[in-house]
């Protein structure tokens, strides 16, 4: 952490302000679509609040469409993927960071390769295998596929983060009587909290917004997740833009909430400093 003098601070704030404006402006445009009646994606005016602004789209979203059902479904799937993914990645990443074992390099490289094939082409065989396993219309199928897609990033990121934590910490813990697993989860695991937040957020957001696989696996409207639900508003050339925009905004609130909740472990939580090399 660095403290600054005032002139530097003003400069920093000015720079941050520019980026915040750039980040926020398009989102405000989305908000103004959600306030427009009559499904108007574009407008020839730059006014952010349309003259005939209405909250009707939000009302319809919650009262006339099964939006809350989609939220519930997506929450189940995303939390399952996040827990499952983070649990597997945090352990696997740790071992890869600390131990040399047979097949380590091959394994690390090969999980990266699973991300390299264009996803569109994988859909058909994936559908075939999921339907053979009778997992069509189940969340199990979806959760396994989502975890598998999120894991390569999570494993690598955890491994990279563990690499920056000196192994002398566990050695000290083991001298104090911890076994290897305890040394991992009592000492190293809490220190890796920023990486847990990154991988957790990543797993959550990617399953929260995934559409292609969900469209293959889920064929019962009651089971629809949010992206599938929002897609219902979209028809070729007659999309319900107002609802879509309103839905998109509401959908991002849990993500922001999760981020705010996880913030203290991402930054300014436990910091390293226990070891001097």
């Amino acid at each position: 952490m660095v403290k600054n003098k005032w002139p530097t601070r003003i400069l920093i704030y000015a720079i941050l302000l520019v980026f915040v404006l750039i980040a926020v402006y398009p989102v405000i445009r989305v908000a103004s679509i959600s306030l427009r009646p009559g499904d108007r994606l574009l407008s020839t005016s730059l006014a952010l609040i349309p003259p005939d602004a209405t909250l009707d789209n939000f009302r319809i979203l919650f009262t006339e469409r099964p939006f809350l059902r989609w939220v519930l479904n997506s929450t189940i799937v995303s939390f399952a993927v996040t827990l499952f993914g983070v649990a597997l990645a945090s352990t696997a990443g740790y071992i890869i960071s600390r131990y040399k074992f047979v097949g380590r390099t091959t394994a690390m490289l090969s999980i990266l390769t699973t991300q390299m094939f264009p996803a569109t082409m994988l859909l058909l065989p994936m559908y075939i295998i999921i339907s053979r396993l009778n997992l069509i219309n189940t969340y199990v199928g979806l959760i396994v596929v989502y975890s598998a897609t999120a894991l390569p990033f999570c494993v690598w990121t955890m491994k990279g983060f563990y690499d920056t934590i000196p192994s002398s910490l566990e050695e000290a813990a083991m001298i104090d009587g911890c076994n290897r697993f305890q040394a991992f989860y009592k000492v190293v695991f809490p220190l890796a909290s920023p990486a847990l937040v990154i991988t957790g957020l990543f797993s959550f957001i990617s399953s929260w917004s995934e559409y292609l696989v969900a469209a293959q696996v889920l064929q019962d409207p009651v089971m629809y997740t949010l992206p599938l639900g929002l897609k219902q508003f979209q028809q070729s050339m007659s999309t319900e833009w107002g609802l879509y925009a309103a839905g998109a905004l509401v959908v991002s609130i849990p993500v922001i909430g999760l981020f705010l909740f996880a913030n203290r472990w991402l930054v300014g939580g436990l910091t390293l400093g226990g070891v001097k090399e």
């Binding site: 980040a23 094939f117 065989p125 070729s236 050339m237 007659s238």
Partner: protein, 736 residues
């Protein structure tokens, strides 16, 4: 696992299936692409049907047109899928050729067929494959009665009325009201004029007929409406045209039946009439009329056939057809309804009917898709002013002929295919043989240190479980002739698909663009991300709020933000141009109309979408750097740059490396942003990267073997990159 467990489980699953089948109603499923108004009607109709037929339970599932098509293909290929689908007639030809829908002529009697408009019965190669219950998608002239009291009936009147309306109403020097507008980017909207000048895009032998005088005249006419008579805006895609009319800034629009309800809802008093007659030929323009209706899945089980037919007959009944027309304004297929007041007393419905009378039916052959793809780039180029109508007509014809040939080619197995199997077998044996020592070591190591393997193996099992089969499937597919005409019974044919990939003239240019796309995006993602993380790592009041606002681009669903960016890049009304003109006094840019600018627009959008992710990763990475290191450096009198170079950079690297590698891979294969911002490669297919190119030029034209081969090439490129990068970054090794 015990040996008996798996069969036992299967038996168990089988038994529960049998137990359920008894006594429950027959369940049938309908996949459709109804718009929302139609869906509301369908809900009511299903209730009514359920009351009349409690022994049948119908489940309906909405899917957007293209996804209905691909979803149905996939599920039919896997031996499943809904009992029936409801969709536009142009999917009938491809489905029939693939063999995934059933002939219906034996199921619907003559009397039944005669009660419907003949165009509602969709025949293909002497079989009836679709029975439509509604018509639609035909374009008409829609006019705003407040601006156009009396609609034009000829092109001359159209131009005259248009010129009166096109003006600058607020005196700022910019035209802000137009006579006429419509979607300039899609040839579907051009077809009426092609017909009006006496041409058509396809003959009865399914050959393209684009190199004609009629096509030249029609292209010239459309261009003249904008450039010579100046009655249309400079640039209008579907949403822009729709918005102008919706806001009362255009007197007339050429648009289809799906749009009328929106205009009425927005308080515009509309009239619907024929697109005006072309004086030169004396012909009415001929929009495409597309019936939409039911087809049956080839996997439909015999015992469910009756229930399915009962449902279709119910939907075709007079009362249901009338309800549809009354509540949606969509034209029903039953002829008797024409004299029903629900149609005859509704001026919009009669206007629609008049237009249908001069329209032409949608060709149902698969060749049409190749023709659309060939017309689109040239049509856009004419309107972009880069080629003449004459060059476009010739170019369209040539490209269409080539694409149709490619689509219909069935590659014959090469003589070396048996050898190929032999080589594959040998390679497998050799691989096993040479890796036997590693395997042995692996097993011994796993026995000796079970802790390690228990922690690692689950993650890898999950990853490979889902990827191995699909990947191997694609490897085989890439050497096969799977395509439109070999959808079920394809063969391994050899390496011909790979040969075609490397001989494809467009391939290298697109590869170059992909590399530019990937590297520019990554540099900015990582650069901005790390820069912001460094700023936010300082002690600053309010940084929590700033952080939250900065992750918004990651948190809001991409689909809507990408389209919002597309809107912001609009030449006349987009925020980007208004800002650069107002605050930076720079000339405005035609973002989406020219190739380089459109590609830049895609990149800018993607940079916006991607930097928050890198920022979060960098923020997390900065936490792992002990601040004692900085304090020690301060004591040594190190400059900020030295501190960054010697402390921040080496300790941030291990955390950032995986994100950079995977970020590269994801960006390389990012179909969405290109697809949404440039509207699938506009202008003229000049903004493609490899994945969108595969999708558009291969996958879309049913060339699955070829698409798989291209995907393998993409995979190989990324694999080489990944290995090279990891070697350079030494990412597998620890830092301390």
């Amino acid at each position: 696992m015990k040996r008996w467990l798996l069969p036992a489980l299967l038996v168990l699953i089988g038994l529960t299936g049998v137990a359920q089948a008894a006594e429950t109603p027959v369940e049938i499923t309908l996949w459709h692409q109804f718009n929302y108004a139609e869906r509301v009607v369908l809900e009511k109709q299903l209730e009514e049907f359920n009351r009349l037929h409690p022994e049948i339970k119908v489940t309906s599932l909405y899917r957007e047109t293209e996804e209905l098509r691909s979803g149905f293909q996939n599920s039919a290929l896997a031996g499943r899928g809904p009992e029936m689908i409801h969709g536009p007639s142009d999917q009938v030809g491809p489905f029939a050729i693939m063999g995934i829908i059933k002939p219906l002529e034996g199921l619907f009697g003559e009397a039944e067929r005669d009660s419907l408009n003949p165009q509602a019965l969709v025949w293909f190669e002497d079989h009836l494959y679709q029975v439509a219950d509604r018509f639609g998608n035909h374009l008409t002239l829609v006019y705003n009665k407040a601006l156009v009291p009396e609609p034009p009936t000829t092109d001359l009147e159209l131009i005259q009325i248009g010129q009166e309306l096109t003006k600058d109403t607020d005196g700022d020097g910019k035209v802000d009201q137009f006579g006429l507008t419509w979607n300039f980017t899609e040839p579907f909207f051009f077809i009426p004029f092609l017909g009006g000048f006496g041409g058509w895009m396809i003959d009865d032998q399914n050959r393209p007929t684009l190199d004609t005088q009629a096509n030249r005249d029609a292209l010239q006419f459309v261009q003249d409406l904008r450039d010579k008579y100046k009655i249309t805006p400079q640039n209008a895609d579907y949403e822009t045209a729709h918005t102008l009319f919706n806001e009362g800034k255009a007197g007339m629009i050429i648009n289809g039946d799906w749009s009328w309800a929106t205009y009425i809802e927005n308080g515009i008093d509309i009239g619907v009439t024929r697109i005006p007659k072309i004086t030169k030929t004396g012909l009415w323009p001929t929009p495409i009329v597309s019936p939409r209706g039911y087809s049956l899945n080839r996997n439909l089980k015999e015992e469910k056939l009756d229930a399915t037919l009962t449902f279709i007959r119910f939907m075709l009944s007079y009362d249901q057809q009338k309800a549809l027309a009354a509540q949606t304004g969509i034209m029903p297929a039953r002829t008797a309804l024409r004299d029903d007041p629900v149609i005859s007393d509704n001026p919009i419905m009669t206007g629609s009917l008049e237009q249908i009378e001069v329209g032409k039916p949608m060709p149902v052959v698969p060749e049409l898709r190749a023709i659309w793809d060939s017309m689109r780039p040239f049509y856009q180029a004419v309107l972009g002013g880069t080629i003449t109508a004459d060059e476009a007509a010739t170019g369209m014809q040539k490209t269409a002929e080539r694409k149709i040939a490619e689509m219909n080619t069935v590659i014959q197995p090469a003589p070396y295919v048996p050898v190929l199997y032999g080589i594959a077998l040998l390679a497998l044996v050799a691989l096993l043989w040479f890796s036997r020592h590693s395997f042995g070591q692996f097993v011994r190591d796993a026995r000796k240190r079970p802790f390690i393997y228990w922690m690692v193996v689950p993650a890898f099992v999950v990853i490979f479980l889902t990827v191995v089969y699909p990947f191997l499937y694609n490897v085989v597919l890439s050497m096969s002739n799977m395509g439109l005409r070999n959808f079920f019974d394809w063969d391994v044919v050899g390496f011909q698909n790979y040969g075609k990939v490397f001989l494809e003239p467009g391939f290298y240019g697109v590869l170059g663009k992909t590399i530019i796309w990937t590297s520019v995006n990554l540099v900015f993602h990582v650069g901005i991300g790390v820069f912001l993380a460094l700023l936010l790592h300082r002690v600053l009041p309010g940084r929590g709020l700033i952080r939250m606002l900065l992750i918004l681009p990651w948190a809001v669903p991409q689909y809507i933000t990408a389209l919002t960016w597309r809107g912001m890049f609009n030449t006349e009304y987009g925020a980007v141009n208004l800002i650069i003109a107002k605050y930076f006094s720079m000339p405005i840019v035609n973002w989406l109309g020219s190739p380089v600018e459109a590609f830049t627009a895609c990149i800018l959008t993607n940079i916006w979408l991607g930097f928050p992710f890198m920022m979060i990763v960098a923020l997390g990475g900065l936490q792992s750097i002990p601040h004692q290191l900085y304090e020690a450096a301060d004591i040594d009198g190190a400059s900020p740059w030295q501190k960054f170079k010697n402390i921040t950079y080496p300790l941030l690297k291990p955390v950032m490396t995986p994100s950079i590698i995977l970020g590269t891979v994801w960006t390389f294969n990012n179909l969405n942003v290109i697809w949404l911002v440039s509207n699938a490669g506009e202008p003229s297919d000049q903004t493609h990267i490899l994945v969108s190119f595969v999708y558009k030029s291969a996958f879309n034209l049913y060339r699955y073997g070829y698409a798989a081969a291209m995907s393998m090439v993409i995979f190989a490129i990324l694999l080489v990159f990944g290995i090279f990068f990891l070697k350079r970054a030494r990412a597998v090794e620890p830092v301390y």
